[in-house]
Symmetry: C5
Subunit: 155 residues, 5 copies
């Protein structure tokens, strides 16, 4: 059975994480059909995810980019609540990749974070959609990180 | 097919962004029908957007103005959550234009931000309503900004 | 056609804004029927508004009073989200009048703010209920304020 | 007609406010049937209130206790939003009694606040359930406080 | 009658709290059937809980791990609101275990908190699912703590 994935990204982002996610999904799932939805900013992502699910996507990855100010963070909070609401109402995973401009000092480092986070979470999405609720269980409690090196388990 | 757009603005705002949005929509879509809804402040925008969608709008732009205090920011957060909820429940875009009084030192600069942001986001709305989910994809990850100069992509 | 208005107020408030709102509504709309609902505090206002709408109110005004502490502000945020949710679910305006105890140094000034805000917003409610979405459009972008002097438009 | 009241409390609380609420309700309403629901902490109160209402309660009082850290306050915010959502979805009052550990310096004072707040709000609940939306109107704008002395009206 | 429990955990966590919860549930309820769902991080827990309930779970425990930054705390707030929403919509308990990396100075202490909190709350879940709303009433107001020593009741 072909699986349908949604990729929602923004024009606000300074890295084309949507393309990275698409490339990763295609590599991880040879039977993937992918729909892409591009919106202006993070507050537009929840409705994009909702519409992708209504078009039959079995799972969605959203790729957001957030500025440095307190207002940007409030927008992040509102968008996060919205993305969780979409998941609850549709019983479908929407993996939320967010890069914050204050996560790193240099643009180069920001870009590395974005690439690493988008590709690792695209893999997570494929695993959850293809194999279901125990696909990630071997890694439970392992301190995995996206955008950074893994923290690892304690002890 | 004629497309119906909703424009929701406030009496609290110090710039008539509603008129700017209407002018832009008419310029970008010659088949546009536009409904306007004016409310006192940002916390009244979600229900206005909801009602505009119930009257058949295919997409809505809201134009909010936010004061400088912490309480104004909490109101912004509540309104943002509400606008996202409206979108999720109706599967319709509500592009949220907000100008914060502490974004600039001078009134002149504030007004420039308001004009630029309202017109750019009105264009975004028309593109999404007319052409759908891939209309903005050529700009994905391009670091577009509304109210300011574009940040551009990294590299 | 007689119009039905809801007025929801609290025993926490130090000014009887409910009576001010009722007086104003009666003055502005000679065909008004008014239902009043008094609750302990702001977190009880959303359900009061919901119930007033279920009893047939075409619009509701809520009159809240908020203390000075951070906890009071979190309660304000939760109540604001709730009031917006009620509006979204019922497609009915709930105009939210809130006075914060830290808005002014003297009790006299606080009372003036409360009276001005409650009466101005009661007028807004009547206009929206009686005349609909374009009633306030002549004032769009005019920098109107409730509780204070109008800021006015820029330029 | 017998009225059914719900009392939801927590094991986290350091004062048995549930018993105080039950005693007060029985004193204020001789026809009261009372259901009690005890959960670990404040974030479990919304579902307890929802279930009590589903079992036929005409109104619910929840009795929460909140620690001193910022995280405790975020939990308070999430729980408050949840309690308001339950009320909106069921059109039923859920009077929310919360004691914050940083409200007082001594345990004795905290206990006094808890007892005063729980009993006063239990009375409020009975009045709203028995007599409806105008039961508290004589006290509108009177500056009533629970846990502290009344502030009183201005002027 | 066999009872079905859901255990939702994350790969972000640095302690395998899911296994601790499963072990505890099996010890406390010999008729337990347990479904496990592992997701990347806390913002994925609400949909996991929702899906576990849809698969027939009578109650769910979620096991989250939260970083030290303000952004991590906003994610915690969004996830908490989501978990409460799931409970309200399904009328089912989702006991929320969260460990914050800034709760302790050493990894060893963090791990102790995680183990204590996960096992105590797993017991709470079994009690609520097996015996219902009065199972915890003997401990109401007793100042119980998970992850730390009990605070105890005042007086």
């Amino acid at each position: 059975m072909m699986r349908k994935y949604g990729v929602a990204d923004t024009t606000f982002s300074r890295v084309d994480m949507g393309s990275i996610a698409i490339k990763t999904i295609n590599k991880e799932d040879s039977d993937a059909e992918i729909l892409r939805y591009t919106v202006p900013g993070i507050k537009d992502l929840p409705v994009a995810a909702k519409k992708l699910i209504e078009e039959g996507c079995n799972g969605v990855i959203t790729l957001g980019w957030v500025g440095k100010t307190m207002l940007d963070k409030y927008s992040y909070l509102a968008a996060s609540i919205g993305l969780i609401t979409v998941q609850i109402l549709t019983s479908t995973h929407v993996i939320d990749v967010t890069v914050h401009e204050d996560e790193a000092d240099s643009e180069e480092k920001l870009k590395q974070i974005a690439i690493d986070r988008a590709s690792k979470h695209a893999k997570n999405l494929v695993l959850l959609v293809k194999e279901g609720k125990n696909a990630l269980t071997p890694y439970a409690g392992k301190g995995l990180r996206q955008g950074y090196n893994n923290a690892g388990p304690i002890d």
